[in-house]
């Protein structure tokens, strides 16, 4: 859209970019992780976290401290930061933020649909929804009897409506398996997000498009890997692959035909980016799994996003890095509380 972003970016978004870079500086470093890994109890962990950017976030928690309390508090902190960014943003950054929240909204909608179909109370499900995926029509979900009613009455107002329309016509919503629905929605969401970034052009497209391409290809690989040995047919599998990645179209077609890990690896060898990733996978127990390797690559790409200025990718990268940090802390906390320290160093290092 606007070439020469460095001339215009700071007018609308400079404050927020500065803020997010400050938050990024507060991410835990290697030294912090070494300290955390040496903790003996969760109380020690809490004391160590007080010296970092987390501060006294656990100060109001009653004893005993559990891993789920730590997780909830960290998520609350991330959400308040994200909401602050979102509330202060202007277009087109606010559309970008909306796209970011769509992935959480998809999970929440699936949860609500499931609950509504099983006549569970909406209040209990609302508590379990992801806070970043909150949308105003959430409480209205229980008025619908069938998924197609739900779509016509409630979901058509949300940003998710075009994704539902993409997937299918409404009467198929009733019979579709919930996991297939989730993955189809995610596919159309990813493709829409990719198109938005590409149309925006400039540095944002340069940073976000490779990240989103990797996300699309990663999903294709993981879906293929996890569908070996299940009832998912090859045609169904192919409909779940997002098409905005490097693998489209030949790689996706080859992946849809793959029947074991070796064939998948051969498909990956045609692409320079994915060949070293697959080679880094250890076999069986002890080595890294494919998912670990993908997580590491994603973290690398997100950290590199901060090397350029005047683009929206910093917000996306910060959120993803923060989530990975939360997962790391929860992993270390679980290893400590279960006294199972052999794999405690299997977190994904960020900085």
């Amino acid at each position: 859209m606007l070439e020469g972003a460095e001339l215009y970016f700071n007018v609308d978004h400079g404050y927020l970019e500065g803020l997010v870079r400050g938050c990024k500086a507060g991410l835990l470093t290697e030294r912090d992780y070494v300290n955390l890994v040496q903790c003996e109890t969760l109380e020690d962990l809490k004391i160590h976290l007080q010296t970092t950017d987390y501060g006294n976030f656990l100060a109001n928690q009653t004893n005993p401290l559990t891993v789920s309390k730590i997780d909830t508090e960290m998520r609350k902190k991330l959400c308040s930061e994200f909401e602050y960014f979102r509330n202060h943003s202007l277009e087109p950054l606010s559309t970008f933020f909306t796209y970011m929240t769509c992935s959480y909204m998809i999970d929440n909608v699936i949860l609500l649909m499931n609950g509504a179909l099983q006549k569970k109370s909406v209040k209990e499900i609302l508590v379990k929804c992801h806070p970043l995926g909150r949308f105003t029509e959430m409480e209205a979900v229980n008025i619908a009897e069938t998924p197609s009613d739900l779509f016509n009455a409630v979901l058509i107002e949300t940003p998710l409506a075009p994704f539902f329309q993409d997937c299918m016509s409404e009467n198929i919503l009733d019979e579709l398996n919930i996991e297939l629905l989730r993955n189809k929605l995610y596919k159309s969401y990813l493709e829409a997000f990719y198109k938005f970034c590409k149309n925006h052009g400039d540095v944002t497209a340069e940073i976000m498009c490779p990240i989103l391409e990797f996300e699309a290809d990663r999903r294709a690989f993981i879906i293929t890997l996890n569908s070996f040995g299940t009832e998912l047919s090859k045609e169904d599998r192919e409909t779940l692959f997002p098409t905005c990645g490097k693998l489209h179209p030949e790689g996706l077609r080859l992946l849809a035909q793959a029947e074991d890990f070796e064939q998948m690896k051969r498909v990956a060898e045609h692409y320079g980016v994915y060949k070293p990733l697959f080679e880094a996978v250890g076999d069986g127990s002890g080595g890294k799994t494919l998912e670990d390797v993908f997580y590491e690559h994603e973290v690398q790409m997100n950290v590199l996003a901060f090397n350029r200025q005047f683009h929206y990718g910093v917000f996306y990268a910060y959120t993803k890095l923060k989530e990975q940090e939360m997962r790391n802390i929860v992993w270390i906390a679980e290893c400590i509380s279960q006294r199972h320290r052999t794999k405690i160093n299997n977190y994904i290092p960020i900085l």
Binding site: K120, T230, L290, R327, E334, N346
Partner: protein, 179 residues
């Protein structure tokens, strides 16, 4: 020879024959009871040993299963609400069967699988491998639990006939030592 156990008989040859037959019957009865008590004791000891072994194994398996839950959560995110929402029919069920040990019937539990895995596609996009490992670990834990329940429900079943048969055996041995 204690006074109250004295049997009043008329001293005749027939009475002696009858008494000898009664003595033989009492001795056979006593031997059978001894065999029953021995078999029950043996079975009881076996069950206790198995209970101890299973409990130790249980500790290990539960620990492994809880850790694989943490691993799955690390890769796949929080899937607990999805799993709880989609519960309908049980996949692993238990049948109660009867086992006969020296005349005492003991209940034995046997587990069997029914139906397909309704969580086959959970974690399709993230963490499917870890979820599969998690399912296997917890299935092992459930099997062990069923075995442990089976053993623990048969041990009180043995507790009642065991002392009874040993008491009867002791009474019988008193009687036959007198006669």
């Amino acid at each position: 020879m204690s006074g109250k156990d004295r049997i009043e008989i008329f001293p005749s040859r027939m009475a002696q024959t009858i008494m000898k037959a009664r003595l033989k019957g009492a001795q056979t009865g006593r031997n059978l009871l001894k065999k029953k008590s021995d078999a029950l004791t043996l079975r009881f000891r076996q069950i206790l040993k198995k209970i101890i072994e299973t409990k130790m194994l249980m500790g290990e398996v539960m620990r492994e299963a809880a850790f694989s839950l943490a691993e799955a959560k690390f890769t796949a995110g929080d899937f607990s609400t999805t799993v709880i929402q989609n519960v309908n029919k049980a996949q692993v069920k238990i049948r109660a069967k009867k086992d006969n040990v020296a005349g005492v019937t003991l209940p034995v539990f046997e587990h069997y699988q029914e139906g397909t895995d309704s969580y086959e596609l959970t974690g399709l996009a993230r963490g499917g491998e870890q979820l599969a490992k998690l399912k296997r670990n917890y299935a092992k834990a459930v099997e062990l639990l069923v075995e442990l329940a089976s053993l623990q429900s048969s041990s009180p079943g043995l507790n009642v006939p065991l002392p009874i048969s040993s008491q009867s055996w002791m009474r019988e041995s008193e009687k036959s030592s007198i006669g």
